[in-house]
Chain length 209, copies 4
Amino acid sequence: MPEPAQPAVLGGTQTRGRRPCLVVVDLTYGFTEPPSPLACDAGEALAATAQLLAAAREHDVPCVFTRIEYTDGDRAAAAAFIEKVPGLETLTPGSRATQIDDAVAPRAEESVLVKLFPSAFFGTPLASLLAARGCDCVVIVGASTSGCVRATAVDALQHGYRVVVPRAAVADRAAAPQEAALFDIQAKYGEVVELDDALALLRGAGGTA
Amino acid sequence: MPEPAQPAVLGGTQTRGRRPCLVVVDLTYGFTEPPSPLACDAGEALAATAQLLAAAREHDVPCVFTRIEYTDGDRAAAAAFIEKVPGLETLTPGSRATQIDDAVAPRAEESVLVKLFPSAFFGTPLASLLAARGCDCVVIVGASTSGCVRATAVDALQHGYRVVVPRAAVADRAAAPQEAALFDIQAKYGEVVELDDALALLRGAGGTA
Amino acid sequence: MPEPAQPAVLGGTQTRGRRPCLVVVDLTYGFTEPPSPLACDAGEALAATAQLLAAAREHDVPCVFTRIEYTDGDRAAAAAFIEKVPGLETLTPGSRATQIDDAVAPRAEESVLVKLFPSAFFGTPLASLLAARGCDCVVIVGASTSGCVRATAVDALQHGYRVVVPRAAVADRAAAPQEAALFDIQAKYGEVVELDDALALLRGAGGTA
Amino acid sequence: MPEPAQPAVLGGTQTRGRRPCLVVVDLTYGFTEPPSPLACDAGEALAATAQLLAAAREHDVPCVFTRIEYTDGDRAAAAAFIEKVPGLETLTPGSRATQIDDAVAPRAEESVLVKLFPSAFFGTPLASLLAARGCDCVVIVGASTSGCVRATAVDALQHGYRVVVPRAAVADRAAAPQEAALFDIQAKYGEVVELDDALALLRGAGGTA
């Protein structure tokens, strides 16, 4: 005899947003290109992100990029993070590792936020930008899934936004952390979706004014 | 022939802190006691946390507790989170689910922060408390490991603190997310340690004035 | 001969918002009722706020209230503030000083945020609430004008919101700081308006969905 | 007959900090040099800041600088601020107005934070830097007193730090707002001190290990 139906405890469905922002997390050469010590398997994510950027731009959806960079002066603030991830030492100002990959290059009128930490919100004006643009959800792509993408997803939820993560547009260094991160995001923080679904969301947005 | 030695990319070791704060995340009955829909397998974590609290209190280490509670007015702010985790609906003011488990009860002079979101820092004055008390590291315990403990660990790092997570003092609903979370924390955000090691840290602190 | 026209350096005009939130700052008896050491001359502000609340509620505009309260555990976080303003010591849990004045009592479904500091945003989930409700501007009332109202106005601007302060609905302990605060707000952070103008904004909102 | 002694309501004295950070707010040419529309009367503040920087550097006190700059992409986040203060439009990347005045030039190892808003904390990693460096108080200098200096002072207090403002090292566009701001800071948020007192604090610090 089957179990009686139980109300879902986790993994419910968020109301679909109508005014998205596309947030491209850390797709700089340091994360997209071997032999960088931080490189992820990012080929598919770059291609998917390029498609998402094209759709967003066509429909006046704001696009925001993040990149990590440590000046000599800023390094002290992130010392505990750099101790855990020594590969971050390579992200020095002016280095190729801190430049956004040409496959997903930002336009002059798009915001590129420098961050020191995993979340795209932390120590940046991203929350102000979303509020000022009247957004109600965030489509998050980039790398790494289990690191900065996930931290950004949790923070987007905390800031009052719905969260959409297109599976094809996020990349990591290994399959297990990526799958565990997507499982947790889908269970607790947002909607892990196919690329077509994310494209439809951006195309349906029709501007966020 | 062995591989040449590679510099570590992830999983480095953080400098040990000297002025810890013990942060007890969400050990309310809603997370510690079946049949709550949110309950974790928390027996060992409660016992370990009780030991850590005793050590912290003996050495004047600040102890801070969090609990989740949604008033009718606050629920709108967390709507996207509650949609994903419908079990959070049970955390109504005055309910047993929002009371801290007697096994780890706070003292009158200890801070109990109400939060709406995963991270103990978000929408609470925890960061101000740590700064005002002169702390340099945070020992994080409680539930769930893959949810609020992990989000708090990432946020502690972002706020400039070193992170220590005693494996025995965190609990989750299933083994796989717990292990994946501890793996990521050890790889990128802090030190996952044995209980004795965390006890030694608290005992060595000797006050944070 | 007259000076050539100069572009305004300060005191420009913000675009009018369409989805306001009414934020009622610290209108508890500790700030509204002598002989509290913190009392402001709040009679007119209470009456004006009551009118604004009625208009907001009639048009489904979210209303949020703040109050200050220090538990024994939280006092350490705000020690530097309490040292400067010893009158804050009277704001103990359960005291009349921490209760919102009946003249502007919140409804059960409205959010009442406890804060430790001047800004209504700091250490509270107010920003998340505004984002989740889709607001684009904040109407700020309460006390004191030069303290918590002004700090909230600056923070609202920083979080990406337009700021409206109805002059009749804010109160202070002395005229000079009140006037200086309103001057600075009008010069740099938001629109200081007459009560009728704020009422019209709330009535024109017609819901914030 | 004299009034009976009253307990102070405002204007108490903060415990003196021991591990300061010197925060130099917005001393870029846009704020220090006519005919910039934003220029303050900054000559004395520049000279005093130079003295404070020398003392801080001699005693290993961290020095942090802020400057305001709006890229095309970031401007939307601060639209409401720029509408009020059109002079901010001049702060474009690469312009002289956004460069720190040579009289108080930062060293390569010192942190220079770009901000979009009044407070040096908002949308920047300043709080993380203070925590990671183990600071317990902030000495705030720069311009304008009634704007970014004051907003930074309030935020420093909110983040758990004691606040020191050396009167000689802050500048504004007019005397009345400057005096009102210093009055409020001394009344509620920190210690407004003579330059010698601030120098003694920095010299006594002897490193912030």
